[in-house]
Amino acid sequence: MANLQHIRRRIKSVKNIQKITNAMDMIARSRFNAAREALLSNVPYVAKTKEIMRRVMSQMRGQEYEHPFIKTRNELIAEQQEGAGKFLFIVIASDNGLAGSFSSNVFKAAHDTIEYDGTSENSSLDDDDDENFHRKNFDALKGVKPTGKRTPKQQRQMSATGGIARATSHQGGGTSSGKNLAVTREYNDADYIDGIELITVGRKATTHFRQRGYNIIKSYHGISERPQYKYAKEISDLVMDRFASGEIIDVTLIYNQFKSAISCAPDEVTLLPIVTDDYAKSSANLKEEYIYEPDVVTLLDKFLPRRIATRIYGAMLHSAASELSSRMNAMNNATDNAQELVGRLNLFYNKVRQAGITNEINEIVGGANALE
């Protein structure tokens, strides 16, 4: 009989869990609708900014033009021979778990990008995407012969001072990541980590990268589900400052791009520097020059920061919608599974109960027979 009670208890607890997952599903669903609205209202703006950017940049190509954010690849390499800065990555994930593979997907993409060393061929990213040239930049910089100073890659290997202590002290704690061999290799590799800075959005991202010893210069918590423009502005101001001062030489944004209610995929965007070479492909569609009012420098000074901030904001909105849709799906599945489990447990419970009753009857019949 104790067994019966045991099963009853289990059924009860599964039902309770089901109630919770169901509630979370509904909460995610209602928030998702708001997040999708926000995203859909933002998409045309970001797309148009990108279009204008492409036209202006393809025209900018080949012209002697001075703006700290805009470079040709040759300029980038030339500058690299003089000094070296760090690489900065902005990783956008979620505050809470229970969203299926949402966070782990973006972390995986982030590790692929951050630890890219010019050898990996598993790029699933579209090569024609003129918003993503981190790898191209890296490849270009890798060939740089240092004249006196070091290239970023070499800098990473040489200035391993603070990095080692940080990374080794975390070796014990990070064993949970053992399933991903590439990651374990990298977070033990302190030299690598030292040339990298991270800005994280979402508690999950912060914990993940802190555990692996990365240098997180700023993190934002509590905004992943409902992003606000002012945070995107803050991030973009920070990275532009650091970029302008030469501390960092490459800013890449990694986030989950929302595709539909049932699918999202990690995407990466290089925010800085803006390399005009990568806009070359579309240069054919505009032959005439632009008139800039008041003049090109003043205008780009205002336009580029705006473009970077809106790109980050757009990514946050994408990430929020993806997070909520992932959670919706995960919780929906959990509820279904709980339902199935309850069904099976009920069947089992009834079987045990039936067996108990049969047993009792047998005993009574046996007892009555013995009396005769």
Binding site: P44, Y45, K48, I52, R55, Y229, Y290, E293, L299
Partner: protein, 142 residues
């Protein structure tokens, strides 16, 4: 009559306006601009203003609170921080904003030294926005 496509997009309201129009009159930081079809390529920054859109013989007004405008011969793209059709404008709010901003600007102007806590750029921008909103709505400025 020749037409040119006008698209106005904002970060949080999506595409506010999209139509083939005959002429657009707006205000950039360098002054008033009239854009007709087949205009040369142009990229400029807009200030808060009441844009006048001429289409099919009529004229509509549209409020933009600054942003960027790109013109190609076939298409005008405006990336506005905010843009509102006359029907979407809250007159009372605009009036209040106007009063507040005007107050701040006048106090600052009377004695700039004593009021360094006032962000004059912001106040003036707010004033310009409120003014443009009231203008679009056709409300006399108090």
């Amino acid at each position: 009559m020749a037409t040119i496509l006008l698209e106005v997009a904002t970060p949080d309201k999506g595409e506010v306006y999209k139509n083939d129009i005959n002429m657009l009159i707006t205000r950039s930081i360098d002054g008033e601009l009239g854009i007709l079809p087949k205009h040369a390529n142009l990229l400029t920054e807009l200030i808060p203003n009441a844009m006048r859109i001429k289409e099919g013989g009529g004229e509509t007004q549209l409020f933009v609170s600054g942003g960027f405008m790109e013109v190609t011969p076939e298409k005008i793209t405006i990336l506005a921080d905010a843009a509102e059709m006359p029907d979407d404008i809250d007159v009372e709010r605009a009036k209040d904003a106007y009063k507040r901003a005007e107050e701040r600007v006048t106090t600052y102007k009377s004695a700039p030294k004593n009021h360094e806590d006032i962000d004059i750029d912001r106040a003036e921008a707010a004033l310009a926005r409120a003014k443009a909103r009231l203008l679009v709505k056709g409300v006399p400025i108090p």
